[in-house]
Subunit: 418 residues, 2 copies
């Protein structure tokens, strides 16, 4: 790849012919507008125009996927690669987005447009902080050398007072969890103010540590305004916290990067809101692209959903997301994929088989807390499931002499209709 | 509306029955998870659960719009209103989004989900800065007492050096424009560094003002990282600039609010990237909701596209967006809708007829710069078109003795196939 051009890959749908549509995309996002202007010299075009690198027809026929498009021809779907001079854009992520995405989604020439991949010049890796911890650094902070980092979410998501949350966190830490996170619905509310909850949970974790000898990672949800997040990141470090959680889509990529620059702790990136940007297959962004931006901005852990989840997403999409997160990119390290959403002992073996590594966070809510023998048995059931997976032993065989696992499988198999 | 609850309106599609789907949405976004937990007491439910306020069936039948949903029944589409206790959420906009949007887009129970409207407790108006200028304040800064604020975009979008941009800005100011903006593709690039461009344009506008006696608003695109945007906002004010432009989706709502708190100038909100969040009708957000969030965060001017635009959007959607922007809300003033995208003299009368006010920005790129008699004639043609519209005179009648308008209509009618 040329080191001074940004390459962007798209799936598009059009009725004006793929080549013409690709040319329209390149024009809109660099030197063109709807009518030829006096300032558009050949020299300016040569140096600054976006370039159509390739166009590949995939299929033809059917109805347009999105309304409002125009064109005389049959509906064509295919892949387009454009490249843009770095010189046009610079390295700021908001301006990268304005160029490779921006108005493209609104073009009349397209009845489908999805940004699927992005290859960036090395300058981006130098310009952005990237993950401060990544997968390897998170293992160190969490003191989990092998196996997945097993976590849970504070539930119910809303309604617990800070004190109740602290007591619950203590119980969860005593149950042997490596990682505890706030729900994305819980950040700073009149009912559970940020600082009170932080302090109550840290006290709870200290009480548990007196018994267990270790303290899990606690990802406290500090999502909010920019100054609030800066203050909170400082506060968490001062009080001895060890992880930050943020709703990345809501604070924005610029907000995430700002947090990264003001923090000395791992950043747990919650992707709520992501569905709106990806669920229609011919619109928006692939997870591959989006996680790359979050990682440049500084995310250490990235939610990827989970196998047989409670959401809409098929397993192959989840697995592709996890692999993208595990791929070192832009000079930065592998990040930690976070498996979550209706996870229990039940999905461990299949997750390991699909991803091929235990460098991941495996986060269970009900899958631990609703274990018939309590949360401690729930945590043990997850560890047993992963021990079996890593040893290549069939789950049911292993469950035969591991009652916690056996009870988990009995309880959770089919709980989400998976 | 109850003052302590957040009300959110959705259009949804489901195959499990609208009532059940609405209950699943309320559970997911407040007290529930996929299995009943020990901590879910009746008292906690009573106080903290989201409430289904109404469910209205609109139609039944057909195929699911989005894949990955499950359900035994026929496909139903309808409207759902949920309410959430303010106590669960607080007033930070990222946390509001996590609650009223967030994971909802991913629910397996839904094959379509769009957030269409939002009614917020008064606490939101108090907690957020809102527009610093709005429509009325912008008129004062621009010194345009009546009629639309007529603007243009620096084009070509990329490729001009700062000096060339400054000379072009001078020409545009001499041509009589009220407002000049950077393209969203141009913020801070190796080819056109922010500060150099700012200075060159302000010098160009000063040169023009020596002749014309006035200086137009110049919305300089300062999109970038948080600290960069703060420094740039200060710099613009120091150097005598009068307007800031930002790509709001890319810097995020938290980033926009941060800019608002650090700026003493009107904020011109460019919505590039918006298409990905709205173009599929059963996914994402309505503009009505999104502009409300941007206004709470502090946007003064909001892009609404334009009639017979070069994009996919139908005119009725554009008009609804403009009306939403003009509606005072959350204790804040009306903001300025920005009409843009293939606009020329040709759409003025229809725009006025549809919106019923001239409190708007009317931004033409090619529609001014590609006028056959030059940009000055282009600007005059827009003013003449609006004079005709405001006086209730037919456009062609008025054009008969206004040659600039006549030439514009001859050039631009049908240019976008509208």
């Amino acid at each position: 790849m040329s080191s001074d051009r940004i390459h962007a890959h798209y799936v598009i749908e059009t009725s004006i012919g793929l080549e013409r549509a690709a040319a329209a995309m390149a024009g809109e996002q660099s030197t063109g507008t709807f009518i030829t202007l006096p300032g558009e010299t050949p020299e300016l075009h040569r140096r600054h125009a976006a370039r159509v690198e390739s166009v590949v027809l995939a299929e033809e026929g059917g109805e347009p996927s999105l309304s409002g498009s125009r064109g005389p021809g049959p509906v064509q779907r295919g892949e387009v690669e454009l490249s843009f001079p770095l010189e046009n854009v610079g390295t700021a992520l908001p301006n990268l987005l304005a160029t490779v995405a921006g108005n493209l989604f609104e073009l009349q020439q397209l009845s489908g447009i999805r940004l699927t991949d992005l290859e960036l010049p090395e300058a981006f890796g130098r310009a952005h902080p990237g993950p401060q911890f990544g997968a390897a650094g998170t293992r160190e902070v969490a003191d989990v050398r092998t196996g997945p980092i097993i976590g849970t979410i504070i539930k119910p998501s809303v309604g617990l007072t800070p004190e109740q949350t602290g007591v619950l966190a203590e119980d969860l830490a005593r149950a042997g969890l490596d990682f505890i996170k706030d729900d994305e619905l819980m950040a700073d509310s009149p009912h559970s103010p940020f600082e009170e909850r932080l302090d109550a949970v840290l006290r709870g974790l200290d009480r548990a540590a007196e018994v267990t000898g270790r303290r899990p990672l606690y990802a406290v949800n500090l999502s909010g305004d920019i100054d609030e997040m800066r203050r909170r990141a400082d506060l968490v470090a001062e009080r001895g916290g060890n992880c930050l959680m943020v709703s990345v889509n809501a604070v924005g990529i610029a907000g995430l990067r700002d947090l990264r620059l003001h923090s000395s702790l791992p950043i747990h990136a919650h992707r709520n809101g992501w569905g709106a940007m990806t669920r229609f297959p011919l619109l928006g962004y692939s997870y591959r692209v989006w996680q790359q931006l979050w990682r440049l901005a500084g995310a250490d852990h990235l939610h990827v959903n989970g196998l047989r989840n409670k959401f809409w997403e098929p397993d192959d999409s989840v697995v592709a997301s996890a692999r993208a997160v595990l791929e070192p990119i832009n000079g930065g390290p592998a990040a930690m994929p976070v498996f979550s959403s209706a996870q229990s002992a039940e999905q461990a073996a299949d997750t390991y088989a699909a991803v091929g590594t235990d460098d991941l966070m495996y986060v269970c809510g009900g899958g631990i807390m609703a274990h018939p023998d309590g949360p401690a048995a729930g945590v043990r059931s997850i560890r047993q499931a992963w021990d079996a997976a890593l040893a290549g032993i069939d789950l049911d065989t292993y469950a035969a002499d591991h009652p916690d696992l056996e009870a988990a499988l009995r309880t959770f198999r089919g709980a989400t209709g998976g």
